[in-house]
């Protein structure tokens, strides 16, 4: 009797972590959205101060997960005051006409282990492109933590029109790094 009880307990414990816990509640304070541009071959860090994610991710059913991101482009920190002023202007984000960028997921695919791939539509400055990004998922302190990176080609979104379309000064590739933290939905575990 006793060994059976132990086995049962072990099974319950093992499945405990894989039990349906859905991470839904976006924690803005702990999440970051950074980017690295290359200017004259030199990597320059930037980030966005204001963005919000709406997500539902259950690690046992990743295929059913969804994610949506809304990004306040005016909240950009492009590395210097000069650059902040420039990048909200017409040649770049043109925030007067296009204040937000959005990402809407279309598929989330497990790649094995804690690796996943996120695919979806990214819209910036009225231009929509399909993008996909590998990310890792882990749980920390009861929260779900999503970390991923992908490379955005800025000219695909007409970011840097006119004089700035010269790719020898500011490279086309911009690396985007997201770190999203979400709490489990109420009722989880």
């Amino acid at each position: 009797m006793k060994p059976l009880r132990l086995t049962l307990a072990a099974i319950l414990l093992a499945s405990g972590s894989a039990q349906a816990v859905e991470f839904k509640q976006f924690l803005a304070e702990q999440s970051t959205l950074q980017f690295v541009s290359r200017q004259m071959g030199v990597p320059v860090d930037g980030h966005f101060r204001k963005f919000a994610a709406t997500l539902a991710f259950d690690p046992t059913r990743p295929a059913a997960a969804t994610a949506k991101l809304e990004l306040d482009l005016a909240s950009v920190d492009a590395g210097s005051l000069d650059a902040d002023g420039e990048v909200v202007g017409k040649p770049w984000f043109n925030v007067k006409a296009y204040p937000t960028a959005t990402f809407v997921s279309s598929a989330i695919r497990p790649l094995g282990g804690d690796q996943y791939e996120l695919t979806g539509k990214l819209t910036i400055k009225g231009k929509t492109q399909q993008v996909s990004a590998p990310f890792t998922f882990r749980q920390a302190g009861g929260n779900g933590v999503f970390d991923g990176t992908f490379v955005l080609k800025r000219l695909d979104f007409a970011l840097g029109d006119g004089i700035w379309s010269d790719l020898s000064t500011v490279a086309n590739d911009v690396q985007i790094r997201f770190h999203i933290v979400a709490a489990a939905a109420a009722g989880g575990k």
Partner: protein, 180 residues
């Protein structure tokens, strides 16, 4: 007979650096007033590369100077003038080292790493810190105005020796002319 002229390498480094530093000074003033544009980013990079080159040259120059002390100033020269000349020269060397250093540190603090000729990344000795970056920008500018004032005095003194005293002091730094 003791040597009355600087060595050729010392002369070469003096004039090369004089041209480079005056160019860097003008470029620095010009570029920092430009509105942001790809050209501005290019000029900034060129300024930084040329500035790092000046730093390497001054290190070479100081190393050479240790092994090849400058010729003694003419015995007839008043003591105060000798002291002033030495003071100005030493201060100039100090600034020639401090200015590029402040530029390098400023760039690190502003979060724009210096990558020499786009190839050799210099380590960031400071991590990004905007207020510190702005402070170092002022320091860089301040030291530059200091060196500029010093160079004006230096050139005025050289011209005074040449045109008023007519002691041909300039020839000590010129490779082309026989000295006396």
């Amino acid at each position: 007979m003791s040597e009355t002229r600087y060595t050729y390498p010392a002369m070469a480094l003096h004039w090369l650096m004089a041209v480079l530093l005056i160019g860097l000074f003008g470029l620095g003033l010009y570029m920092s007033d430009l509105p942001l544009s790809p050209d501005k980013l290019k000029l900034y990079s060129w300024h930084k590369w040329a500035g790092v080159s000046a730093f390497l040259l001054v290190l070479l120059r100081l190393a050479w100077r240790v092994g090849h002390p400058p010729p003694a100033l003419p015995a007839v020269m008043p003591r105060w003038q000798k002291l002033a000349a030495h003071g100005v020269h030493h201060l100039a060397y100090l600034l020639m080292v401090a200015i590029p250093l402040s530029g390098w540190l400023m760039s690190s603090a502003k979060g724009f790493q210096t990558v020499y000729f786009g190839v050799v990344p210099l380590p960031d000795l400071l991590s990004k810190d905007k207020p510190l970056g702005e402070l170092l920008e002022s320091v860089h500018g301040f030291l530059n105005y200091g060196l500029a004032a010093l160079v004006v005095a230096h050139v005025a003194a050289a011209l005074k020796h040449q045109l008023l005293d007519r002691d041909d002091l300039l020839a000590r730094m010129l490779p082309l002319r026989r000295n006396r």
